[in-house]
Symmetry: C2
Subunit: 331 residues, 2 copies
């Protein structure tokens, strides 16, 4: 298996879960200090993760929370952001232009910023009022913070058991999913590597993952054309351009919006001869009870798409680290 | 000019503006009755219009307002919707499945519903607590309601003058835009009618218009493939797949997010040989002061894209009223 190192993968997920103590301390300080609303702010991939956090919280929480796009906030502003706002963001480099300006602006308005900044001693690392530095696991870190706040809100009573289970099983189970999915991923890449355009459909906490998978992986890293669409919206336009051979990939999770992707799949069964379903439910996660799978389905699907990415890279020889324009050209 | 009837167009826009008395009465009742938050709810094209209304309100308002997708609301719920919520929606047919269920659900939660339902005596017409029935002008109607509420909020002091100006000039000016844009539209269609895939980029109150133009017009009505993207997000993935000949259309308005599309255009100038900018600023609107153009830019651009649609229909012979699957197949 190309670039598969089980121990490294387990270590990677475990390092995310190991942040729980730090995240709990920060979440508890935020909770105890009081806040008016919670703003998940990002751009590009981190905007997608912000939307995932919001959908995840909508399953339970009555807090006032929302997602904000950094560039839109800079241009238009948002009067909900100010004194009493807790803004949460994530950044790998700590230097993303729109994010640096947006965090500066929201702090000037009186908001506090909690940052997951992978690279210390960078502008975003310095701007954050509370900061955690540990690479990767962006969604997991967001969900851990959201979960702790929901625990304090009183709407996540099984919090301790849930994380005990994740600590015990998640890392090894996800590494096993990558191994299991590799055969499927290779066949998928052989079939789809030359697509002129590939459609991706998702819903729930997997919609943000679908959006960023199409945009940040296929477009940005593989230079392949995609369109992503929310399953709820599929029936209000996109359905009309589905021919027998149109490549459509449905990323299906196990949260409250699963019925929305199920409906798309029923439609595709009738009219399409070229669709693929990547369903978290197809992958066992030994030790993890069914009732907890909805919240981790995006991680299961990510383990599958990660094998697609690596097989594509191996097959096409296109190095995923090369960029043509991003952070290279001046624009 | 194919299917161009100036008097009919002027009559159409005027009929929208003529609803102001009715809309003001409803908005004033909503305001005087008090409300906790304002929910713009829709699906497909009306979800796009809901997002446009929200961006428009963000320019000024400190009220608590948000957009909600009907199918997501049905699947996941939204604890912000309940007693004290004023939900606003629009429907041409009055029967859209997801909308009927969503309005039923939000009313059961204690929310009130204001509906623009073009067809009387339909399920949505009956469900609305307040209802206005007059075909077309969906965005104009949404913005008129938003504007009246913002006037009552005290953040739209020029309201009377603004609408006096629109009443006097908007309808004739928009009809003139369609006439002026027809030559451009014909040339655009000749160049782009056989595109395998066309990209659309927009921002601000025009982002929703960009999303729905790509999806509800090109995909649903012309059966042509598209991808739409917010200008803020363009630089976080999509830029990498721009080749010299990739067809990109930028819909540019004049609100606070104009700098976001300007940045995309600067990038395209450098790397693309096949992009088109449809800029509201290129069309004079005699009698309408510059300071009011930001709020009507989406209508100007719509007048241009309407000529594209009609030229495409004439050129390809593909009747825009035909659907393959929508409301035909059972799914």
């Amino acid at each position: 298996m190309y670039k598969y190192n089980e121990q490294e993968l387990i270590g990677l997920y475990s390092s995310g879960l190991a942040l729980r103590g730090q995240i709990e301390e920060i979440a508890d300080r935020v909770w105890d200090g009081g806040f008016r609303n919670l703003c998940w702010i990002g751009i590009g991939g981190t905007w997608a993760s912000a939307q995932q956090a919001v959908v995840h919280m909508r399953e339970r929480s009555a807090l006032d929370f929302f997602a904000e796009n950094a560039a839109e906030y800079l241009a238009t502003g948002n009067r909900r952001i100010g004194e009493g706002t807790c803004a949460v963001f994530s950044s790998v480099t700590g230097t993303t232009e729109e994010m640096v300006s947006a965090v500066r602006k929201l702090k000037a308005s009186g908001a506090k910023a909690v940052g997951f900044v992978d690279t210390p001693d960078t502008p975003l690392w310095e701007l954050a009022d509370e900061v955690i530095s540990c690479p990767k696991n962006e969604q997991l870190k967001f969900f851990m913070l959201a979960d702790r706040l929901m625990y304090r809100e009183g709407v996540f009573p099984e919090y301790d058991d849930y994380y005990e289970v994740l600590d015990r099983y998640l890392a090894a189970d996800l590494a096993a999913v990558e191994r299991e999915a590799d055969g499927f991923a290779k066949a998928f890449c052989e079939k789809n590597r030359d697509n002129a355009l590939t459609y991706f459909v998702g819903a729930g906490a997997l919609y943000g993952a679908t959006y960023s998978y199409a945009m940040c992986y296929w477009e940005e890293m593989h230079w392949m054309r995609t369109k992503s669409i929310h399953a709820a919206e599929f029936f209000h336009g996109m359905l009309e351009i589905i021919d027998e051979d149109t490549p459509v990939v449905v990323l299906q999770g196990e949260d409250s919006q699963r019925p929305l992707t199920e409906r798309v799949i029923r439609f595709l069964e009738k009219v399409s001869g070229n669709y693929t379903v990547i369903d978290s439910k197809d992958y066992p996660m030994p030790g993890i009870p069914d009732r907890y799978r909805g919240s981790i389905a995006h991680l299961i699907v990510h383990a599958v798409t990660n094998r697609i990415d690596l097989n594509l890279e191996e097959m096409t020889g296109h190095d995923m680290n090369i960029r043509r324009y991003y952070r290279k050209a001046d624009y």
